[in-house]
């Protein structure tokens, strides 16, 4: 998967490149708007990460020119300004997502992955399986090692999210947004408590743990025996 990062701030650009490279992407980093635009027009990328405030031409103009030239590569905006008009402007111009600085790196990663996933038509899956954990989606039944586990509706959704995105670190903000539709930072540790309670039901009694805490970033579900 190829990513283009257009970010003029050296430190930020470097670390985003490093982080994304280590996450398994092929990353091209451009530190000004013109070079970024040139790269986007001449090479093929799967996602473009575009800073709004650039020294030469701003991100909006780059996006506008790209879309006018028929380039439909998904674009994530990075901006230091969090105002509704900015957001609306970006989305109207055809941006696919939007992150306000300072953002958590893991959140950027999650957004990129969900953009990449968006293109693939997901076949209707009736059963999700990780190790000996089985989710029956239509009947909302969960079993582990053949043993039935009772989950509340939200716990089920949470587990489903983890399994659908297994191996991926999910930051708390993404979990809150996907499972509870809460799109703001809560002052509380609700997500930690909810994950702990889910773990108590699906992990505690079993030797092999599936849900893992990634300190400082979030949680992921992974079958580490594979």
């Amino acid at each position: 998967m190829r990513l283009l990062v257009v970010e003029d701030e050296r430190k930020a650009g470097e670390f985003i490149r490093q982080g994304l490279t280590e996450a398994g992407f092929l990353v091209t980093w451009m530190s000004n708007g013109l070079d970024g635009y040139h790269q986007a027009m001449t090479e093929t990328f799967d996602v473009i990460i575009l800073d709004v405030m650039l020294p030469d031409i701003d991100g909006w103009r780059i996006l506008k020119s790209l879309r006018e030239a028929g380039n439909q590569t998904p674009v994530i905006f990075l901006t230091a300004r969090d105002s509704v008009t900015d957001r609306v402007k970006g989305l109207e111009l055809g941006a696919d997502d939007y992150l306000v600085k300072p953002f958590a790196f893991v959140e950027l990663l999650a957004r990129i992955r969900s953009l990449l996933r968006r293109g693939n038509s997901t076949a209707i899956i009736e059963e999700l399986k990780v190790a000996d954990l089985v989710l029956d989606i239509p009947s909302r039944k969960v079993t582990r090692a053949g043993k039935k586990i009772t989950l509340s509706q939200k716990e089920f959704l949470l587990l489903e999210l983890f399994i659908r995105r297994q191996g991926e670190v999910l930051p708390r903000s993404i979990i809150a947004s996907e499972v509870w539709d809460m799109n703001f930072d809560s002052d509380t540790n609700v997500i930690d408590v909810a994950v702990r309670r889910l773990r108590a039901k699906i992990d505690d009694e079993f030797e092999q743990k599936l849900i893992h805490t990634v300190r400082g970033m979030g949680y992921k579900l992974e079958d580490e025996s594979e």
């Binding site: 969090d82 809150a176 703001f184 809560s186 002052d187 540790n189 609700v190 702990r196 309670r197 400082g216």
Partner: protein
């Protein structure tokens, strides 16, 4: 800005002066008019009396001759001795000259004498003959079967010249009176404005470090007391706002200093010697925690600054409060269950126009706050409903320790903590309630809090129409 287009507003002095001037002018003109009228009336009365006496005397004399017309000139020639400037003519039959007094030749020039049958003030006439003006009375009567006409007149020149002089003097006096009164009015206005000028001088001298200054209303005339009270109130608002602002700046500095100190100290200590990789990891995690707090604080403060500057414009969609609150209950379900706290919703409310995300954020702050302060195993109640003032209310009631009254009003202040020593990590950024209040206010609503020894209640009022 409209006023600018219409030019300068009229000065107060000019306003009062023009009204007073107008009133004085009207008074003087009116009184002058009546004085002249009554003097004229007085002269008419005088003239009438004189003419009446003459005609009556003529009638008596004619009576005394017993119809012997040839004797008439003799008796009539004596009739007006002792009267000056008075003339008469007798005709019999009317139209035929019989006798006229000395100097009364001018009667022959009167072509339409307009005779009357009796002596009456309303029958007075005036004649202008050559350059002389006369006031006269013409009466027809019969004595011993003989019809007579008596025409009496008197010269008005004397009266007229007196009246002219009188008028001249009177208008002059009135002009002087008018000018004097206007000057006095102007002086009065100037004097009257002195307290205003003094007040303005005192107001001008108030500096930002003297916002505790107040103007004593009792030292001012009654008309200015209202102004002084309003001004004092404005000062009070300014002082409060100013104090809040400077406290806020101090608080920001303090709130930022703590995590920054932690970051610097732990990083420096970490770098003092070579360590196993695990310890570096630990250090980075610890740094990350502080950094995330800082980031959250900065975005919360930015949000509040935008809200203060009216940059947050809530979208308006119809919101069903009870379903939003149920969603929030589901979100907080795990957290509440940890402390065996039950969340219940009571009542019903009509849908209200609001920004869904913002409202959820506001209510979520209140709920997480309630959960934080509710003892183990107790129950949090959320009541919704509609009150008489067409407001929808949401009451969030949690049992727990009483919040002392002195803290209640400051609870929504930024970074305000009831207990300063409370662990800052468990309390969030200290901006939650400030953000909640701000959100409610951008929706034209308001939020109140009360607390007794059994429970604390936050009440949000939201208008049915935004």
């Amino acid at each position: 800005m409209n006023k600018q287009k219409k030019g300068m507003p009229i000065s107060l002095t000019l306003r009062v002066m023009s009204f007073a001037g107008f009133a004085i002018l009207a008074c003087l003109l009116l009184s002058g008019f009546f004085v002249i009228k009554s003097v004229e009336q007085h002269f008419i009365e005088q003239d009438y009396d004189e003419l009446k006496i003459i005609i009556e005397t003529v009638e008596q004399r004619l009576d005394s001759i017993n119809g012997n017309v040839s004797q008439a000139p003799d008796v009539l020639s004596q009739a007006i001795s002792g009267h000056h400037g008075v003339y008469f003519q007798v005709e019999t039959p009317p139209g035929t000259h019989l006798f006229h007094s000395k100097g009364a030749e001018f009667f022959s020039e009167i072509t339409h004498p307009q005779p009357a049958n009796r002596i009456d003030k309303s029958n007075l006439v005036s004649w202008k003959i050559d350059s002389e003006i006369y006031r006269g009375l013409v009466v027809d009567f019969t004595v011993e079967g003989i019809p007579y006409r008596v025409m009496a007149a008197m010269d008005m020149a004397f009266h007229l010249s007196f009246l002219e002089k009188f008028k001249e003097k009177m208008w002059l006096i009135m002009l002087v009176i008018g000018i004097a009164t206007l000057t006095a009015t102007w002086f009065g206005i100037y004097q009257g404005h002195r307290p205003l000028i003094q007040l303005s001088r005192r107001i001008r001298n108030i500096q930002t470090n003297q916002l505790d200054e107040r103007i004593a209303p009792n030292s001012l005339p009654i008309e200015l007391r209202e102004l002084a009270l309003s001004f004092n109130q404005m000062l009070q608002h300014l002082e409060d706002g100013f104090e809040r602002l400077s406290n806020f700046s101090a608080d920001i500095a303090h709130e930022l200093r703590t995590p920054l100190t932690n970051l610097i100290t732990q990083t420096q200590v970490g770098l003092t010697q070579a360590r196993p990789i695990e310890q570096y990891k630990e250090l980075l995690y610890s740094n990350l925690e502080e950094q995330e707090r800082l980031a959250k604080m900065v975005s919360d403060m930015l949000w509040l600054a935008q809200s203060d500057n009216k940059l947050i414009q809530p979208a308006s969609t119809l919101i069903d409060l009870s379903s939003e609150i149920k969603d929030l209950f589901e979100f907080f379900d795990a957290l509440a269950a940890e402390s065996q706290i039950t969340l219940t919703l009571e009542g019903e409310a009509p849908a209200i126009p609001a920004d869904r995300e913002l409202l959820k954020r506001a209510l979520s702050n209140l709920l997480s706050n309630a959960i934080r302060h509710t003892p183990y195993g107790e129950k949090i109640t959320v009541k919704i409903g509609q009150n008489k003032n067409h407001n929808v209310y949401v009451e969030i009631i949690n049992p727990g320790e009483q919040i002392p009254a002195e803290h209640l009003s400051k609870l929504f202040d930024r970074f305000y903590r009831v207990d300063p020593s409370r662990n800052r990590l468990s309390e969030g950024t200290g901006l939650g309630l400030a953000i909640t209040k701000s959100i409610i206010e951008t929706h034209d609503g308001r939020i109140t809090v009360e607390s007794n020894n059994a429970r604390t209640t936050f009440t949000v009022y939201l208008p049915l129409v935004m």
